[in-house]
Symmetry: C5
Subunit: 345 residues, 5 copies
């Protein structure tokens, strides 16, 4: 997540400056061709081109809107994870008690149960985060050539790379009992099975009468909510913005930019011989606006791709971790995750 109000010029250039190079190359080539070859019939009237421009702007606008919705939905889901986690913490803390037990459990025994179930939940959070960061087929980091290369560099500099040192400190083993860790890590979907383990423990608590039926049902419902939150994240992760929309938006923009100098050069030519050179920077600017519109959506549509537009999952996990550990009365807490290079992960 970007945390500065505005891009600095430097940042804007890092994000989109390289596109100016090829835009300039293309726009200049056509202008030169037009100027030196006198192929003056080689231009196209502006007005029909303008219709294409409007239609493409609509289309890209729609795609960006959808990309934004995906990101905002992802953020909502993680917000819901925060809320349900706090409910889980407070309910585990205050529902597990000696009230319904025949045999009395000591305060320490009760505490250790609560710690176990709250820690295992923190484990689920970090496990879910890791699972969501596995690169998919359609993310930039998985592309060939320049795009994939740039994406990997970008991830190091403005993405998950920023929190490498934090992540190494988090060890799923610390939040799970050892034997559990071994079993859970081998499942197809570790997070799913962690919840199943929580569910199992609830049933055991009920058996020992540490909770009664009412409380068992409420706690299980919160676990079902976690399944829902997890499934919703996986839905966004594993179902891209439909590629027929995304690809075509790219192709339309490319097409428009391809045609752009043919339409513009003659409009400038009308203003005089020298004006023709003025068409280059102006055409580049117009092209750049369309390219940037396109890539804004393109780099927003996958909110769990490890890049700077990601949902700040690590930061949110840490916030939850600390809230829950404070509920347990702990005071030695890990630091909050802070933004680096203007990016919070």
């Amino acid at each position: 997540m970007l945390v500065t109000k505005n891009f600095s010029l430097k940042r804007a250039m890092e994000f989109s400056g390289h596109h100016i190079i090829w835009l300039t190359a293309w726009m200049s080539s056509v202008t030169l061709l037009y100027y030196y070859t006198n192929l003056q019939w080689l231009h196209i009237p502006w007005l029909p081109l303008s219709l294409i421009g409007t239609a493409v702007a609509f289309y890209v606008g729609f795609k960006n809107n959808s990309a934004y919705d995906r990101m905002w939905e992802a953020r909502k889901i993680w917000g819901a994870i925060v809320n349900s986690s706090r409910s889980w913490g407070t309910c585990i803390k205050h529902f597990v008690s000696n009230q319904f037990t025949a045999q009395h459990f000591s305060d320490e025994e009760l505490k250790s149960i609560k710690v176990k179930m709250i820690y295992r939940h923190i484990g689920w959070l970090y496990a879910l985060r890791s699972q969501l960061l596995v690169v998919t087929n359609w993310e930039h980091a998985n592309q060939k050539g320049l795009i994939g290369h740039a994406a990997k560099r970008y991830i190091r500099k403005f993405g998950t790379g920023l929190v490498d040192d934090e992540v190494t400190k988090i060890n799923l083993k610390n939040f799970l009992e050892e034997h559990e860790y071994e079993e859970l890590i081998n499942f197809k979907n570790t997070a799913t099975q962690i919840i199943d383990r929580q569910s199992e423990d609830l049933a055991k608590l009920r058996e020992k009468e540490l909770i009664d039926d009412f409380r068992h049902m409420e706690l299980q419902k919160i676990l079902n909510d976690f399944y829902e939150h997890q499934g919703k994240c996986e839905r966004i992760k594993k179902f891209p913005l439909p590629r027929q929309y995304g690809s075509m938006s790219f192709i339309f923009v490319a097409l428009f930019i391809f045609l752009l100098p043919f339409g513009m050069v003659s409009e400038f030519a009308k203003l005089g011989d020298w004006a023709i050179w003025l068409s280059i920077p102006f055409t580049v600017l117009v092209g750049w606006v369309f390219v940037v519109m396109e890539i804004i959506g393109d780099y927003t549509e996958n909110p769990f791709s490890g890049m700077s537009n990601d949902i700040p999952m690590l930061s949110l996990c840490r916030v939850i971790e600390n809230d829950l550990r404070e509920m347990l009365g702990e005071t030695k807490l890990p630091e909050d995750i802070v933004a680096r290079n203007g990016v919070l992960m």
Copy 2:
């Protein structure tokens, strides 16, 4: 579901290339007519045409938006099926117990009950998938002539045809008891009656006191959720994007493309005699952009039609199947469904 970031040129041509043929034919005809007959009054001013173009682009944009919403809603529903299925698995596993029984059931008896109810649920998943793939009146595969023919070829090559071998391995009989299979398969709506059977078994479990009232109610609520998910899928399957919107969008685009060369040819004619031929590729491009916008929506609006833009139901069924079977402690699991030809079904 398409799983590559961008269409390759080859794929884009397979998807929409054939439209270029008739577009070229039409645009060339008008240009030739204009050139040879000197019927130079046979053109129309560009500006009013441009208004039609803008209005049509709006209209098609709206339709594409709705088509996208239908697909995304379909994906959300299947996501919810994943979530509720995991809840069903974990709840059946941990709710059914000897805690409330007078008579003690052996671990094996309990296990076999759990397996039966979870397997029947997996059966429901595959049954629902099959029901949703029955072709409706308004899907491409049910059209006459070239469109229907192409759709069927497309389905074989980039649609459900890709997973034929997987599907033959899935046998509803494996997930249902034999006598049950015979009964259920003959109902008007098999999936509906599978849930009814689950409901019946819950009532029996309650009778035998393997679950108590609390747990009975919660489990029944999850079944009611499945009815909801199933009904929502059926709603999208059986209620097309209103045909008055869809048909008119097609007619408007056709009309615009019909008029296009009349409006464009004279604009190019102004640039000189030779420029008139340049109008053909350019007009084809403009027409192609509108055609592609139209068909993107057209091939997205039915997310259960067995084609490449479908919700990957088989893959999701398999994911659920494996998650639930891992919960039951099974380790010999079927393979995940993988993408072929860039398509995941």
Copy 3:
């Protein structure tokens, strides 16, 4: 609900062809006036007219969007009725039992109770359908003159008229006990009071201990859901798309079409004397596109008006009826409703 992918030309003409008549009349009149009177100053510049055209297209687009949303919401509600009805069926079937009774009820007694409560629910469905089809003030069938007349013909040929014979076979008396029918039919809102009767019976079942408190609450909640679904349908039926939006959209389109030939005729006149006649078909086409956009929304905004764009309520009622009767073990079921003239009601 229209069930063909595309309008045939014939159908498109039946839907909107008559508008071409008056459009041609108007466009021709202005052209003739312009041609014969030499009132050549009587035209208006195209560009400002084009701005009006764009603004009107936005405005109509917005209205169509809202009309679509109303229809889709109506379909969602009926989808929810399907889902809740299945839940009602399965819960009544499996919740009513001897488990909590002091005195034992025979299987037949239990069955007859279940049948009564499920049949009464089917009665509610058909009653709700009838109530929703009562014509309101703002529906086409209630307009004076040509519009109202055409609407009534349209309803006979492509609307509820198609299912007249089916509907006569449905008799609310078959689904309600006789004395009940007499009482219920006289209430201001029969459907509301049917649910109240269901509620009353649930209380009686609880009194006889055929259900316990848990089940009573769950079943009552499903009844409350039916109140919700019914109320939502009534909301759409009884609250039109705000008339200030709908009327103005009509006025704006009329205004634009009124001005259209004045703006277009001179543009064509520039192309030569004969071209002026070409302006007629073209202007008619442009006008027709705007008229069709307007009426698509106009005929979609009321999804319970008995016309071809309606939610197929009868068909859905029948689907539910059959699903529920199959749950009750019945095998002699009425036929599904099928589409006629390309319309499913």
Copy 4:
């Protein structure tokens, strides 16, 4: 709520005709100035003005969309009030019984309890309606000068004024016990405290064992739903469409209309000396379209302002009243509210 399909011309003029006066005045002034002073350089090129026109049309379109959403949400909330009220009626009627009581209550005693709680609910409805009609700072009726004056006249003729005689017949005292009325009327928020009183009575019913815990909880949940519905209405009433959006839309339209004649007059002047006078009606029409777009949103955004676009709260209250009183077996019911002057309140 307007209940006629289309505005009659008369109604459209009543709604927006007076704007034509000042539009004509302004447009004529500029034309006269242009004609007589020969200040022919005093015009502005049309194309940049057209861009402003498009941008303003977008902006106003967005505002109208939001205004519509506010109204539709308001209608949804009142729809939900209908649904919850019916649930309240049927649940109170069938949940309160002798089933759990040690001491037996007579049928009359039970009936009087039910009547009291259902009547008090009807009282809440009318109280909520009154509270929502108190004029806020940003509603038209609270503006100074002509606008406020016109709004008050409009309210008398097409708004709450239409139902004055009905309203005087409704007396909160009839639905509340006398001592209760005195207490409740003095609270800051009467409706809130009526629900609190309902809540208190539920607790008393539980104490007397006329309801058990299950039913107590369900009934309390319905009361909490009423708090939710009330709060949602208050949210729309007390939080206007953000004024920065609404004010600026007004300013942009005013600006566009101010500039309009300067841009148009020269376009017409090109057509000849006489054509210049033709610019007046045309410019007025264009201006009128923008003004009407603006005021449609402006008069829709506050759905509880006592004007003709309001949610028909009185009518809905009456529908609920009658449904609930029919549930109680009453037959002498007040008349339904009917539309007057084409408006249902």
Copy 5:
């Protein structure tokens, strides 16, 4: 929250007038350059610029829409806080009783418990408000230079500064027990831990049998709702409108305004020598419209930033406080918050 229908001219100037200065400076510079240097080739054709203008208007329109949605969602959440708070009040008041206790508690003891739990809730409200007003990195008040300076002045004059005197009167200590205050104030997230404290007290009430299991569960659910509301507020506060969208919108508008005079000056030059000066005010107006569109979104997107477009949290807190204290029978209540300078906080 602004509470006047329209901006006065003075207010509109305070909000956006200073932009006119730099717009005039820039537009004049280019005009002067054009006029004196005869660099008449230094202009750009209007039509391509117009395409940029349209695309930018779309883009900004989208951003404003999103900003509006953020604000409206924030208002919805605070509306939900109102509703849940009233439920909390009435439920605490009527659920805590001697009905299930072995030992009898005096009315005063019961009252003091209720007061404690309702007051602590009021404390939570004010604590949440304070937490939401801490300035984030991307809010105006945290920017460097003129923007940050102006924001701070604006906050004093039209923002939280207006209610300084009210806020000093609110003391969290009055709503919490003293020892509690000390503990809670030191937590990372005070509001979270206040709810945890409520949860703890509920468990104690259950232990003393002042509530039973049913009521315990319902009250805990309301607390979980508060976690949800709090988390949703924090989501909007801590996750800005994605900066890639916001920044680029700013850059696009800046770019368009940079190019504007080059495109406009020659259009005016065509009208004559003097007309060129007319281009300055007109260009400024066009630029101003785009700037205002941009900043409307910019100052709306953060609804908890202490400025005039904020959700009126203090006012809402006070409304809830008074409603709850009236439920407790208190009559000496603090004043409602009133609007000052046309702003309600």
